[in-house]
Symmetry: C2
Subunit: 248 residues, 2 copies
DNA sequence: AATTACGATATGTATGTACATAATTGTCAA
DNA sequence: TTGACAATTATGTACATACATATCGTAATT
């Protein structure tokens, strides 16, 4: 009955009182194994922390941590009085790395360069006001910027910045640092919303990206807030060759 | 100096020895606050767990948990002997919800329906073998499926399933449940890789999705594993109107 | 000077214990 | 029958303590 949790070559039970380092990982692995071998089926209630701790010869807190981390990635579901059960629909979310354009380009061994197309101080247009929940007449900075990889257009960035949220940016000419990098460096944010879609390039967009009008583009939009003050909204267009990947 | 961490209305210091429930959340929040208020700048080394524990009047383990969770979302970076520092490029990843087609459609108040276009048992083709790291001749199930929202094409799904990893699927006719739902329900996975891109619809794809050939489509690819056994690879095509959103 | 060994240090994790909290179940009364 | 409330129970979290482990700086060795 007692099934010890020593990492690899568990031959005999762990004597009670001996501390096995990393045992919470071993427990995670063991539970994962039981799920994969269908010892425990989706939807099934598994033994309580107390029982598992006894079975694995460890403290309840250790089992707790293992289960908590499994719950974080969605493999099990836990409820207080009800216990822990294997998730019916395991793993519902992926982590997506938010790239910094320059690093992304350089990571591919390409030469990075950017060019500011326009930079204007304007009152927030209707659509942006609505999206960011700002009052009429709020001063904003509108920047359009083209990023290159080895002198080929990589990304067209169309950005609106809420000046009051990052006053220092008002005087920034973006000569050496792109708005992207500047904001990443100086404007921390706590919340973000991203949108991903495909679209057909407009005439202007096609010209900028050196593709045919109507050709598919990958659209990545992002809005960020600090606490609840909007900072910036950006729409980034990539030619279709672009691909965003996330593994975990 | 001593700055108590009581959740909301902390007026006076927490007497040592009093246990503040959820204090690790409060500590997380306080550290977040210090980052956003630029008390601690990106790249800066922050005080050690021991010191913070003393300052916050709690146990080191509690600070540890707060910092560990902040490290998980990329806001701070930790190294053993070196201590904890504020990340230079804070918040680099977003959580992306992986949708279940049916729920996604129904969540928009639309009628869901799907249709199996083809279902064949084949040996893994070269590209799939390479991608999933399977030996030649591995039996796989190839399923093509069209999902509808209110009878309009919503998603074209092209899926390869590693039969040995989910033997039960061999006899599944997918009459009532789509492959998507079936796998979500019966084939838990622990790892996944996703790819997002834009593409031009091929002739066949255009016909299926009822759009013009060459029109932009949003491509969502996903490969899943359980431990290190590949389960399935799927390529999902959406007409350009599709938009994937994530807020956090 | 380059290499190795070692001690110091900050984080990482395990344990036993105690109490907190949410959710279910049972109980009693209206 | 039903609604309010208390008891129960599994998970959630805190704490003190102890040991584990990675890594940095420094001293000893080559």
């Amino acid at each position: 009955m007692s099934r010890p949790v020593v990492p690899a070559k568990d031959v005999d039970p762990v004597p009670a009182g001996i501390r096995v380092p990393n045992s919470f990982r071993a427990i995670k692995a063991e539970i994962l194994k039981r799920i994969s071998e269908r010892v425990w089926l989706p939807g099934e209630l598994i033994p309580g922390e107390e029982d598992l701790a006894r079975e694995f010869g460890c403290a309840r807190v250790t089992v707790n941590r293992a289960l908590r981390e499994l719950a974080e990635i969605g493999l099990v579901e836990r409820k207080r009085r009800a216990g822990t059960r294997i998730a019916e629909h395991p793993l519902r979310e992926a982590r997506l790395e938010i790239p910094v354009v320059r690093s992304e380009v350089e990571a591919r061994g390409a030469q990075y360069r950017f060019s500011i197309l326009s930079r204007e101080r304007l009152e927030a247009p209707e659509a942006m006001r609505a999206r960011l929940d700002l009052p009429a007449g709020t001063p904003m900075l509108h920047v359009r910027c083209l990023h290159f990889a080895d002198n080929r257009p990589w990304q067209f960035e169309d950005r609106w910045i809420h000046i009051a949220a990052v006053p220092d940016i008002a005087d920034e000419p973006f000569e050496r640092m792109s708005p992207n990098e500047w904001l990443v460096k100086f404007a921390p944010f706590s919340e973000m919303e991203i949108g991903l879609s495909a679209a057909a390039a407009s005439g202007e967009e096609a010209t900028l990206l050196a593709i045919q009008p109507g050709a598919p583009v990958f659209v990545f939009e992002r809005t960020t807030w600090l606490i609840d003050q909007p900072i910036t909204h950006v729409r980034m267009l990539h030619p279709q060759s672009y691909r965003m990947v996330s593994r975990f």
